[in-house]
């Protein structure tokens, strides 16, 4: 198993796509942070007098899917921004959350992982291994190396994002960007890594089932877009209509992507625990199904 991991890491090191997609991941997250930082700077500007001639004041409100007017912990991209706009300083955890909440890292990551994980089947290299190495080890090695890459891409993107955030927010808003609480950062990083790695496992499962690069990339792109959110909303409407469940229940709370879009450094421990448990369950199930699919099919 260790040999297979070394072999896959060597392949990653030698592949041009590793560097190209890493640059794209850094660029997308950097653009996200830059635009967020500029918006934060805008929100920090003193409010102009916007009373109309009749004395009616107009205020902006955030309109986002996760908003609850009495929930102090706002989530989602805009919610994160609104939260951020009220701060006196920004921590590493805040920057990490801003960087990942729009799925901007997940998109290039998904594409790269499909290219990496499916390359053996696509070019026939798998025939060199398929009979000699246990198939579950092939899948596990791919997953472990995908996790390694995810950690690498996230940390490097975060590093660049911190530098941009520090440069823009500190100069424009006169507000500090600091590392902050190590515990908060560890929590944010852990949840984001776990959720991204879980989605990587789901994508690898799709690859093992379909053996198709196109289908797998389409799946990964769809996951990174707003399409699943619409599906969850429809599913919620159906459930609330026909099943006797709590009004607070939402399917979106029980998918791994919620840990990406719905995470807030200030969330309570129950929410954190739920996110972790959901991700671990999906990770295990996706891995088991991926291995079973790899074992069942002949290698062509």
């Amino acid at each position: 198993m260790f040999d297979l991991i070394r072999s896959n890491l060597f392949l990653m090191k030698k592949s041009r796509s590793t560097y190209i997609m890493t640059i794209i991941a850094i660029a997308t997250t950097a653009i996200t942070i830059l635009s967020n930082a500029l918006l934060i700077a805008l929100l920090h500007e003193p409010a102009e007098d916007n009373d109309d001639e009749n004395g009616v004041s107009v205020t902006m409100t955030a309109d986002y899917e996760d908003a609850t007017s009495d929930d102090p912990t706002m989530t989602g991209t805009v919610g994160t921004l609104m939260n951020a706009a009220n701060k006196n300083s920004y921590s590493a955890a805040d920057i990490l959350t801003m960087m990942t909440s729009g799925m901007n890292l997940l998109l290039p990551l998904s594409i790269y992982l499909v290219i990496f994980a499916n390359s053996d089947s696509k070019n026939g290299y798998i025939k060199n291994l398929g009979g000699c190495v246990a198939r579950r080890k092939i899948v596990l090695a791919k997953l472990i190396c995908s996790a390694v890459y995810t950690i690498f891409a996230m940390l490097i993107s975060w590093g660049v994002s911190m530098a941009i955030a520090k440069a823009v927010i500190e100069s424009k808003c006169k507000v500090d960007v600091v590392f902050g609480s190590g515990e908060d950062f560890a929590k944010a990083l852990g949840i984001q890594l776990l959720s991204h790695i879980t989605i990587a496992a789901v994508i690898i499962m799709v690859i093992m089932i379909t053996r198709s690069t196109a289908v797998s990339i389409a799946f990964g792109v769809a996951l990174s877009s707003g399409i699943p959110t619409l599906l969850y909303q429809v599913a919620d409407m159906v459930l609330h209509k026909y099943v006797d469940i709590s009004d607070d229940f939402s399917i979106a709370d029980y998918v791994p992507s919620n840990a990406i879009t719905g995470f807030s450094p200030a969330q309570d421990s129950d929410t954190t625990t739920r996110m972790i448990v959901v991700c671990v369950i999906y990770l295990v199930i996706a891995t088991v199904i991926g291995i079973a699919a790899m074992k069942k099919k002949d290698i062509r």
Partner: protein, 305 residues
């Protein structure tokens, strides 16, 4: 005799049709076994099952005397090149070998890479990406990769495809050396019987998924070489005449017919000698069957020749 590989009614069914149908064969240690068949005969499917790339629908096989889970562990002693070589097009030949060496935990892989590339005639390719290789070069790289883990059994599916005559001769030479110097048992498939006949020591002829004949090289040559069939009135006396003429390689092939397998250009002298000995010669004819014709006759191709 030690059999490295034995298959017992090995069968593979795709969409209700058998691609390989109850194939049983034995391959001895040290053999070069040529698997011959037309395109779509089942050679590749059979090899894939042996390599563990495809699960048999029925039947079983032993590898190095082991079955089941024990057999899976033996797969490390097998090197294979199945269909097109599986290589990373953007990596160099050395890097491709290195990846496999890492996966198999091969020590001193740098030395191994150099050795294998020299062995298959790719020593001078440097850092050129494998995707820019010619078909023949890719085939050779595939053979080199099959040798990475020092296999005892080498399975090569049409390795001479796309090679020029010099390339074919070089591969033939490599296979001979691997077999003679390292004792590697080789299973090699092809539809070019003439070439296979130069390298294999035994043959299996497969058609429509069924193994129709297995024979040694000597048996194949005997069936395919040119020979004289002579029908005479007295077989025993005819045998004495042939021996006096210095013929050794002849045998009874029919009730009053002797087959002579040497000096097949001396039919006139044979007829005269028989006549001088007082024998009636009912018929004498020279048969010459090319390997290809023999193969086509067996497999029902080209109107059964």
């Amino acid at each position: 005799m030690e059999y490295l590989l034995t298959t017992d009614s090995l069968t593979k069914i795709y969409h209700g049709k058998p691609a390989v149908n109850r194939v049983s064969m034995n391959i001895s240690k040290g053999e070069i076994y040529g698997l011959i068949g037309r395109n779509g005969a089942g050679k590749t499917t059979l090899m894939k099952m042996i390599c563990g790339l495809a699960a048999p629908s029925a039947g079983d096989f032993t590898l190095f005397g082991k079955r089941g889970a024990e057999r899976v562990k033996m797969m490390r002693r097998v090197g294979a090149l199945i269909e097109a070589p599986g290589i990373y097009a953007n990596l160099s030949a050395a890097d491709n070998i290195h990846i496999k060496a890492l996966a198999f935990g091969v020590k001193n892989s740098a030395q191994k890479e150099k050795e294998l590339l020299e062995l298959v005639g790719l020593g001078g390719v440097g850092k050129k990406a494998a995707g820019k290789f010619s078909l023949g070069m890719r085939q050779r790289l595939g053979i080199a990769m099959a040798l990475v883990a020092d296999p005892e059994l080498l399975i090569l599916d049409e390795p001479i495809n796309g090679l020029d005559p010099q390339g074919i001769a070089e591969v033939r030479d490599v296979l001979h050396r691997l077999n003679a110097e390292r004792g590697i048992t080789i299973i090699i498939s092809s539809h070019i019987l003439e070439e296979l006949a130069k390298v294999a020591t035994s043959f299996g002829i497969i058609n429509n998924g069924v193994m129709i004949e297995e024979l040694t090289r000597e048996q194949l040559m005997a069936k395919c070489s040119s020979h004289i069939d002579i029908s005479v009135s007295d077989i025993n006396k005819a045998a004495d005449v042939l021996q006096e003429m210095g013929f050794n390689n002849f045998r009874l092939v029919g009730e009053n017919t002797i087959g002579i397998f040497e000096r097949t250009n001396e039919s006139a002298q044979i007829t005269l000698a028989m006549a001088k000995a007082g024998l009636w010669v009912y018929s004498i004819c020279t048969h010459s069957e090319a390997l290809e014709d023999y193969f086509l006759k067996l497999t029902g191709g080209v109107g059964n020749v």
